[in-house]
């Protein structure tokens, strides 16, 4: 299977896509609106963004289903539309995906925290992720469980996906940099996360969002010494600058790409971008990968 071939090929650096939410905001996504609904309401826009990343050189792009767990949709009173949302999302990305490239099923966090922060249980998480995975399964080549800030929630997600599907999993956690190192906001250390995910036999261990590229590079310097499992990174384009209600990412692309190059040199297998990165970012990363 193509993704497994890529993983086994030591010379292959896999290029993921860039920020999706930030691309939607540029195209007028209203604050507070669930981006996944645009699969139904503005399919042409969704196809266009997917296509822009494939055209820029992404080997694989993820479906616009970040928020499509039942638990998250319930918060927005959209749970009953989940089948329609995911079906349309898959249709949109499959329309954009050229031959020889892959479709990644995007699974974001549920938005529900465990006590004492919230009231979620592992069972609720598991059930929610299983439902979303069943809807995505036939239409994707692999899964990206991403931007999860609680190792317990990630475990529920990984186990739910494995229950439903044999397709590969990238398990990507979001970390913050503290004076003591990299941790999730729930207090899980980088080392604990990596060790735990190794034990779950995920195909790829990832880190995405929260960190800009230079902080992600610092994380990578630690992570590569903690595991031999392939690693995926999708940093943000630096830290956002807020002016009124608008958010700007000012980091020059060259700086971001330089950091990505260093991460590749350290052994990172899959690279891409998160908030604030664009098709142009991906295009520049494609250039450096092709030179390797």
């Amino acid at each position: 299977m193509l993704f497994h071939d890529w993983l086994k090929d030591d010379s292959k650096i896999v290029l993921f896509d860039g920020g999706f939410g930030s691309e939607l905001i540029k195209r007028g996504l209203e604050p507070g609106k669930v981006p996944d609904m645009l699969n139904i309401e503005k399919p042409d826009t969704i196809v266009e963004i997917h296509k822009s990343y494939y055209d820029a050189g992404s080997d694989m792009c993820q479906s616009n289903t970040f928020g499509s767990t039942p638990l998250n949709l319930r918060i927005h009173n959209l749970e009953e539309r989940i089948n329609e949302i995911v079906e349309k999302a898959l249709g949109n990305i499959q329309k954009a995906c050229p031959p020889g490239r892959l479709v990644v099923g995007d699974i974001g966090p549920t938005g529900e925290f465990r006590p004492p922060v919230g009231n979620a249980s592992s069972e609720e998480w598991y059930s929610s992720f299983a439902t979303q995975t069943k809807l995505l399964e036939k239409g994707v080549d692999l899964f990206h469980i991403e931007t999860v800030s609680d190792l317990e929630e990630m475990l529920s997600a990984v186990r739910a996906v494995k229950e439903v599907s044999n397709k590969p999993i990238i398990a990507s956690i979001t970390y913050k940099k503290t004076k003591r190192g990299f941790f999730t906001i729930m207090g899980d250390s980088l080392e604990k996360c990596i060790n735990t995910l190794e034990n779950e036999n995920v195909d790829v261990i990832g880190a995405n969002c929260t960190l800009g590229s230079s902080e992600m590079l610092d994380l990578v310097k630690q992570a590569v010494n903690m595991t031999d499992i392939p690693i995926s990174v999708k940093p943000n384009a630096g830290q956002p600058r807020i002016e009124g209600t608008k958010t700007y990412y000012d980091q020059p692309i060259e700086e971001f790409v330089r950091d990505i190059q260093e991460m590749i040199n350290l052994g990172i297998k899959i690279v891409g971008g998160c908030c604030g990165t664009t098709p142009e970012t991906i295009s520049e990363i494609r250039k450096i990968i092709d030179l390797i």
């Binding site: 503290t178 004076k179 906001i185 807020i242 009124g244 608008k246």
Partner: protein, 217 residues
């Protein structure tokens, strides 16, 4: 006497920092029984404790579970203390405040602590919770005839809701009837100016000072 009070305050701070609810509650009850100055107990004991928890979060020692647990324990202690703070002034409120986190935003810890501190200082507080539409906050403020509307937003994508509140008040010719104050990490003085709000506070103690000054209390 002074030394033992200082020790009591330190014990209260430690009980919050250590997330030791049993000790924290015990100390609160003791403070009541010993007829300590309960405003000092709130400020130098429990509020100081939660501020220390906040510092530990900044240092990367404490994380969200500790922050939430500390806030819960502090809230439980204040729930014990507040009825005694208002003794002798039953029915007399320094003013009415409605607080909420704006629509689309579920962050609530800061807002909840502000509500707790305002109650501790004698204000009647209506806490509508999180993810509340601007119209609902305004309707509630009108119905309860509050003096101050406090709105929290922690996301740049939800901040515009704070501006919406003032726009709704303007549409209904109610601008002069309420003071509107803003809270949340992305709020700045220039945002307050852009919204035509009456002020913002970066922490709960400053929020109390702001409300007191706006209402001349």
């Amino acid at each position: 006497m002074l030394l033992s009070h200082e020790k009591s305050y330190k014990d209260m701070v430690d009980s919050i920092v250590n997330l030791d609810e049993e000790t924290a509650i015990e100390l609160a009850n003791k403070a009541i029984n010993d007829k300590m100055n309960l405003m000092d107990v709130v400020e130098k004991g429990y509020a100081a404790g939660i501020r220390k928890v906040g510092e530990l979060w900044e240092e990367g020692e404490y994380f969200l579970p500790e922050l939430m647990r500390g806030a819960q324990i502090m809230q439980n202690c204040l729930d014990l203390l507040i009825p005694h703070l208002q003794e002798g002034s039953e029915g007399i409120s320094r003013g009415k405040v409605v607080i909420a986190t704006i629509e689309g935003d579920i962050h609530s810890i800061g807002k909840t602590i502000v509500g707790t501190m305002l109650r501790a200082y004698g204000f009647t507080v209506f806490d509508l919770g999180a993810d509340i539409p601007a119209e609902k906050i305004v309707d509630f403020a009108i119905e309860k005839e509050v003096d101050v509307i406090g709105v929290s937003a922690l996301l740049t994508t939800t901040m515009f809701g704070q501006k919406k509140i003032i726009e709704i008040l303007k549409e209904r010719n109610l601008l002069n009837r309420f003071k509107v104050i803003l809270g949340g990490a992305p709020v700045t003085s220039s945002w307050v100016k852009e919204c035509n709000a009456d002020g913002f506070a970066e922490n709960a103690i400053d929020a109390v000072k702001l409300v007191k000054s706006l209402l001349n209390k």
